[in-house]
Subunit: 277 residues, 2 copies
C-alpha cells in the first residue's frame, strides 16, 4: 500500500486548484473535453479500478468532505500518489459543488484514447455477449443499461452516435461506476454497427414488443448481441428487419417496459442460457 | 361522448382557481391531504381510467398548455363535465408550475377511502400474484416497481409503512400512471404484512443475493407474493428467515441489481411460470 500524502485543505470555494469541481450540476450537460465527475464511494472505487486497468481512464483529482477522509484511507491508497486529494468543510464543499452533496465524495477523471467500435469488436472473446444500443437519450436509462450489462457479464456496450454520453455524472452514478470499467464505444450509425457485428459472427437479437420469438427462446450462441432502441419508439423498422427479434411477455395494453428494464430481463435470460452467469 | 365544456383561460399565475398547481416541484415532498399531481398525456389517460373505476381516485382539475388542448379533446371527454379544464399560454403555465413543463399537461387528483392492506388481501382473486415491498425510500424506484408490477399482471402492491408514497408526482410519472390504477396499500410493519399473506395462503418469496433457490426455480403456486426490500441493504435477516428466498444469477463482486430491476426480472419469471402473461 502506497504512502498516502496528506489531503490538501481548501478554504476558499474560488481556489483555482478545485475549479473543475465548481457548479458541477449546472455544467452537467456541457462539453468537458473528455473529463467526467465521479461521485460517491462506490463510484470512486470503480474509478480506482479503471485507473489501474490502463484502458484510458485516469483519475485527476479527488475532493472530499472533511468527515469522509478517515473512512476512505484504504481506498485513497489505491490511487497513485500524484492524484491530489482536496478536503473541505461542509459550507465550502457545498459552495464549490453548487448543491448539497450529501455523499461528500467527488472525483474528477479523464477519458482519452479509448478504443473505438471496431477495435472493441475485434477484441471481444470468441465467446461473448455484447449490448448494442441505438438512440438512448436519457442519462438515467443509460446508467441503468450499464449497471445491468455489468451485472450480467456483458463484454462490451456498443452504441450508435445518437446515444447520449455514458460519462455524464448522472449516468456514471446510476451505473454504480460500471460506465468507468465496462468497455464501450459510441460512434457511427445503427446500420454500421449491425453490419460490423454480423461480420464478426454475432447473432443479433433486437428487442421489440412485436418480436418474432419470446426472449426465453433465444438460442444459445457463441456470440450474441442484444440490441435495444430508443425510449418510447423502440427500434425503427429498418433496423428490426435487418436482425432477428425477440419480445418480452407482458400484459397487453400498457406502455411497454422501460428500455433498461427490458434489457435487464433479456440479458439475464441470454446470459443464463449461455452459461455466463 | 359527453359534451366538453370550453376550457377556462387563466391569465394570472396567482389566480386562486389554479392555486393547487403553483410551484408543484418545490412542494413535491410535503403533505397534500391525499392530493396528487399527474403529469403528461399517458398519466392523464390513466387518471381518467382510475376516476371511472371508482376505487377512490378522483380527478379534481386539469391544467393544459394552450397548444395541447386540441390534441387532447378525446381524452378530456373521458372526464366528468364537472372537472374543470384550465388553459394557459407558456409564460403563464411556467409561472404557475414553477419550472419549464415541456409536457404542458397537468392534473390535480385526490385519493381517499382507498381500501387498506387487509381489505386488499381479502379481495385478490383465488389465483393471484402480489408484490410486497419494505422500506422503499426512493421515488424513482417506487415508480419503476409499479410500472413493472403492471406490466407483469400483479394484482396488488402491498408496502410496509416505512416505504415512500407512490402518489408523489415523480413516482406517478415513472410508473407511467400505474400508481393510479394498480391497487396498493402502505401500512403496518413488514412482519405484519408477511403474517397476513401467509394466513391468506400466499407462498412468499423474498429476493436476496443469498437466496436459497434461483429465481427461475420458484415453483408455480395459486398465490405467490414476491417480497423486495430496501435499496442498498435489501431485506433484513429477520424477514428473510420468515420466508422462502430466491436469488437472481449475476456476476459476482458487483453491487447488486437495482431493486426495481430485480423485481422486474423476478416478476417476469414468476408471471411466466404461472401462465399469467
Amino acid at each position: 500500500m502506497a504512502a498516502v500524502p496528506p489531503p490538501i485543505r481548501i478554504e476558499d470555494p474560488a481556489d483555482p486548484r478545485i475549479a473543475a469541481f465548481v457548479s458541477i450540476k449546472e455544467r452537467d450537460l456541457t462539453g468537458r473535453q473528455g473529463r467526467f465527475i465521479a461521485e460517491g464511494t462506490v463510484v470512486l472505487r470503480m474509478l480506482a479500478a479503471a485507473h489501474r486497468s490502463g484502458r484510458g481512464i485516469t483519475a485527476e483529482a479527488i475532493l472530499l468532505l472533511e468527515n469522509r477522509v478517515a473512512g476512505l484511507a484504504e481506498l485513497l491508497a489505491q490511487f497513485p500518489a500524484d492524484v491530489p486529494v482536496f478536503v473541505a468543510d461542509a459550507p465550502v464543499f457545498d459552495a464549490i459543488a453548487g448543491f448539497n452533496m450529501h455523499r461528500g465524495v467527488l472525483a474528477l477523471g479523464r477519458s482519452d484514447a479509448m478504443p473505438g467500435r471496431d477495435a472493441l469488436i475485434a477484441a471481444v472473446p470468441a465467446s461473448s455477449l455484447v449490448l448494442a444500443a441505438c438512440g438512448i437519450s436519457n442519462h438515467d436509462n443509460m446508467g441503468s443499461l450499464f449497471r445491468n450489462a455489468a451485472a450480467f457479464g456483458v463484454d462490451a456496450v456498443l452504441m450508435d452516435e445518437s446515444s447520449c454520453d455514458p460519462m455524464y455524472r448522472k449516468s456514471i452514478r446510476v451505473s454504480v461506476g460500471s460506465a468507468l470499467t465496462l468497455p464501450f464505444s459510441r460512434e457511427g450509425t445503427a446500420a454500421e454497427l449491425i453490419d460490423r457485428l454480423l461480420t464478426a459472427g454475432f447473432a443479433i437479437w433486437g428487442l421489440s414488443p412485436r418480436g418474432e420469438v419470446d426472449v426465453t427462446e433465444i438460442p444459445p450462441a457463441p456470440r450474441t448481441a442484444l440490441l435495444v432502441g430508443t425510449e418510447g419508439e423502440g427500434l425503427p423498422q429498418a433496423i428490426l428487419s435487418a436482425v432477428r427479434t425477440a419480445r418480452i411477455r407482458q400484459r397487453p395494453g400498457l406502455d411497454s417496459l422501460n428500455v433498461a428494464m427490458a434489457a435487464g430481463i433479456a440479458l439475464h435470460q441470454v446470459a443464463s442460457a449461455n452459461g455466463r452467469i
